[in-house]
C-alpha cells in the first residue's frame, strides 16, 4: 500500500513538474470545433492483433446539439513521440487534423488532460506551500507557547481555540470575501495559500506545543539550559529534531486538507480564475447533472483529487504504523 501511495504521488508530482513537456496542448488552447470531445481512442493493435506504432483516427462531430462524435476510420495519424510541435518540445503529439485528447475536451474544446496536468501544478503546490507556511506559523506559536508556558501559553491556546471553533469552510469564505474578487491570478494563488494556512495553523500549533511541553522537562534540555544554551538553540537543536517524525506525519495528513480547500474554493469560483486551470475550477464545470451524465470525462480532476488525497492519507498512516513497529 505504501509503495502504491508513493507511486501515485510520485506520478502526479512528475506530471506537475514536467507539465510543459507532458501536456500536448497549452492549457488555454480552445478548439471551438470540438466541444465535449470524448477521450480519443489510441489504437496500438492492427486488425490482425499485432502490436504496432500507436495511431489515432480523427473524430467527426455528428450531432452538434448533443455533441456526439464518430471516429473517422478513413484517415489515421501516427502518434509522434518526443517531437517538436508548435507548442514546444512534447512527449507526444499528433498532426492538427487528428487531435489527441486523452481525457476528452471540455465545453470550450480545451484538452482536459493538458489542463489536468497544468492544474496539478497549482493544486499540489497549494498543498505543499500551504503546509510549509502552516509549519512556520505552527512552529513559531507552538514553540513559544510550549516553551515559555504561563500567560503566553494561555493566550496562544485560547487564540487557537477560537480559530478552531469556527467551521473552517466558512472561515475560508469570510477571508476570501475580504479581498476583491478580480485580482491577478498570481495574487489569487498566494491569497488562497494564505487563507488556507491561516485556517490550518491552529491545529498544528497545538500539536507542537504539546510535543515541546513534554520534551521541555527532558534532562538534556535542562542540561542545555545549565550550560547556557540559548532558547533558540534549545528549541531548534534539542527539541524539534527529536519530534521531526511526528511533524512529518502531521504534514502528510495535513496536505489533503489544503488540496481539498483549494478545490472547494475554486469550485465555487472563488479560487483560481479561468483560464488558469486548477482541479477545483475544472470540476466546477461538472456541477450540472447533464454534463456528468453525457460527458463523464469532465470528472477526471475529481478522480485525481481522490487519488492524491487517499495516497497522502495512506502515506501518513503507514508512517505511523512503521514508527510503531520500530518503537
Amino acid at each position: 500500500m505504501k509503495y502504491l501511495a508513493l507511486g501515485i504521488l510520485f506520478t502526479f508530482f512528475l506530471l506537475a513538474i514536467f507539465a510543459d513537456f507532458i501536456a500536448p496542448y497549452p492549457y488555454d488552447l480552445q478548439n471551438r470545433e470540438a466541444p465535449y470531445h470524448p477521450p480519443t481512442r489510441v489504437h496500438i493493435l492492427d486488425s490482425s492483433g499485432r502490436l504496432i506504432h500507436p495511431y489515432v483516427h480523427p473524430y467527426r462531430l455528428v450531432n452538434p446539439i448533443f455533441k456526439t462524435y464518430k471516429e473517422d476510420k478513413s484517415q489515421k495519424c501516427k502518434v509522434e513521440f518526443f517531437t517538436q510541435t508548435p507548442y514546444g518540445f512534447k512527449l507526444f503529439y499528433t498532426p492538427p487534423r487528428c487531435g489527441v485528447y486523452l481525457l476528452g475536451t471540455d465545453k470550450l474544446g480545451r484538452d482536459v488532460f493538458s489542463r489536468l496536468v497544468y492544474g496539478a501544478r497549482i493544486s499540489l503546490s497549494v498543498g505543499l506551500i500551504g503546509v510549509g507556511i502552516t509549519f512556520l506559523l505552527g512552529i513559531l506559536f507552538g514553540s513559544l507557547a510550549g516553551y515559555y508556558g504561563g500567560a503566553i501559553d494561555a493566550a496562544v491556546m485560547r487564540l487557537t481555540e477560537v480559530l478552531m471553533s469556527i467551521p473552517a469552510f466558512y472561515l475560508m469564505l469570510t477571508l476570501r470575501a475580504i479581498f476583491p474578487l478580480d485580482m491577478p491570478s498570481v495574487a489569487v494563488f498566494f491569497l488562497i495559500i494564505f487563507i488556507l494556512s491561516f485556517v490550518g495553523w491552529a491545529g498544528l500549533a497545538r500539536v507542537i506545543r504539546g510535543l515541546i511541553l513534554s520534551y521541555r522537562s527532558y534532562e538534556y534540555v535542562l542540561a542545555a539550559k545549565t550550560y547556557g544554551a540559548s532558547t533558540f538553540r534549545i528549541i531548534f537543536k534539542h527539541i524539534l529534531p527529536n519530534t521531526y517524525f511526528y511533524l512529518i506525519v502531521s504534514a502528510t495528513s495535513a496536505i489533503p486538507a489544503y488540496i481539498l480547500g483549494e478545490a472547494s474554493l475554486s469550485l465555487l469560483g472563488l479560487g483560481i480564475q479561468e483560464p488558469y486551470p486548477s482541479w477545483g475550477n475544472m470540476l466546477s464545470e461538472a456541477r450540472s447533472l447533464t454534463v456528468i451524465t453525457f460527458f463523464p470525462w469532465i470528472l477526471s480532476p475529481g478522480v485525481a483529487i481522490f487519488l492524491v488525497v487517499v495516497a497522502f492519507n495512506i502515506l501518513g498512516d503507514t508512517l505511523v504504523s512503521d514508527k510503531e513497529k520500530i518503537g
Partner: protein
C-alpha cells in the same frame, strides 16, 4: 566560601491560571560550600533535594532568600554563571540528546561559550572519564547507561567549572556501574567543588566530606561525614544508619518510614511522627544548635540539644 545559600525557601504555586496554596519544597535553608569541598546532600524522596540541586544551577528561583556565588547573587550573573556551575542529572537515558554524537554532546557547552581549542578540551575530558576513543563518534543512544553517565559527567567538566552539582547520578544505574561512577566522582572531587545529591547513605558517605541531611524541605543536620558515621546527632541520622540495607529485610532495626506526608505542610519537624523522642515542642521547628568538634563544627536542628 564558594557557594552560599541564605534563608532559602522555594514554593510551588501551581499553574498560571489555577493558583493554589503554595507548597514549600524548601523551607528556610542555609548552608555553604567551600572551594574544592565536596558536600553530600542526603534526603529521601520528597525531601526537596532535587529542587535544591536545580536551585544552584538557576533552573529554579528561590521564593525567599538569596544564593551567592563568590559573594555575588547568582541571578545577577549573566551567561558566565553557566561556565562556573554545571550539573549532572539523574537519568542517563534522558541526559543526552539522542541526535548528538558523544563528541558533539561534550563539545556543545564549549561551542555555546565560544571557546577555542575545543578539540583538545573535549579529548582531555573524555579521556578523564575513561571513554574509549572508539566511542567518541557514536551517537549517544548507542551507549550503555554507565557510558552515558560518563559522557554527561564529561560534558559537565568541559567548561572547567568551579562547582559540579550531581543530582542522584548513580540511582538509575545498576550497582556495579554505580560504583564505577562513584569512583569517578571520588577521583574528580578535589579538582573543583562538588555537591553530590543522593538518597543512598552508603554512596553519599563515600563521596562527601560534609553531609547535609535534608528532610521535608528542612535541613536537620550538617556534619563532617566521619563524625556523622560515628555518631549522628539528629534522631533521623540514627534512623538512617539503622536502616542501611542488610542481608535480610527482617533484620532491620526500627521503623522503615522517615517522614510522614502530613508533616510536609506544617511548621514542625518533618521527622517527629516516627521519632522516638517525639514531643509536644516538635510541632515547631527547632532553632539551630552548633556543636564544636575537632575539625570544624557540626550543626543540628533538634529540640534534644536545646
Amino acid at each position: 566560601m564558594l557557594l552560599e545559600l541564605k534563608n532559602i525557601s522555594v514554593a510551588y504555586f501551581g499553574s498560571f491560571l489555577f493558583k493554589r496554596k503554595p507548597f514549600f519544597a524548601l523551607k528556610n535553608i542555609s548552608f555553604s560550600v567551600n572551594y574544592r569541598e565536596s558536600v553530600t546532600i542526603l534526603g529521601e524522596s520528597g525531601s526537596g533535594k532535587t529542587t535544591l540541586g536545580r536551585l544552584t544551577v538557576r533552573l529554579v528561583k528561590p521564593t525567599e532568600g538569596k544564593v551567592f556565588l563568590k559573594g555575588r547573587n547568582i541571578f545577577s550573573y549573566g551567561k558566565e554563571y553557566t561556565r562556573k556551575v554545571s550539573m549532572v542529572f539523574q537519568n542517563p537515558r534522558e541526559a543526552l540528546n539522542p541526535r548528538y554524537s558523544v563528541w558533539e554532546a561534550v563539545e556543545e557547552p564549549l561551542l555555546v561559550h565560544g571557546i577555542k581549542n575545543r578539540k583538545e578540551i573535549v579529548e582531555k575530558v573524555l579521556t578523564s572519564v575513561d571513554i574509549e576513543e572508539k566511542l567518541w563518534f557514536r551517537k549517544t543512544y548507542q551507549l550503555s547507561g554507565g557510558q552515558k553517565q560518563r559522557v554527561a559527567i564529561a560534558r559537565a567538566l568541559a567548561l572547567n567549572p568551579l562547582l559540579i552539582v550531581a543530582d542522584e547520578p548513580t540511582s538509575a544505574l545498576d550497582l556495579s556501574v554505580a560504583y564505577e561512577i562513584l569512583e569517578l566522582f571520588k577521583k574528580l572531587k578535589h579538582k573543583q567543588s562538588l555537591i553530590f545529591i543522593t538518597h543512598d547513605v552508603r554512596m553519599g558517605t563515600k563521596v562527601g566530606e560534609k553531609i547535609i541531611i535534608l528532610l521535608g524541605g528542612r535541613i536537620l543536620e550538617i556534619s563532617p561525614v566521619k563524625e556523622f558515621l560515628e555518631k549522628p546527632l539528629h534522631p533521623y541520622g540514627v534512623f538512617l544508619l539503622n536502616n542501611l540495607p542488610v542481608e535480610s529485610p527482617y533484620k532491620r532495626k526500627g521503623n522503615l518510614k522517615g517522614m510522614e506526608l502530613e508533616t510536609l505542610r506544617d511548621e514542625g519537624c518533618p521527622f517527629r511522627i516516627n521519632c522516638p523522642y517525639n514531643h509536644e515542642k516538635c510541632k515547631l521547628f527547632p532553632p539551630e544548635r552548633i556543636v564544636k568538634v575537632e575539625n570544624g563544627e557540626r550543626r543540628v536542628w533538634c529540640w534534644i540539644y536545646i
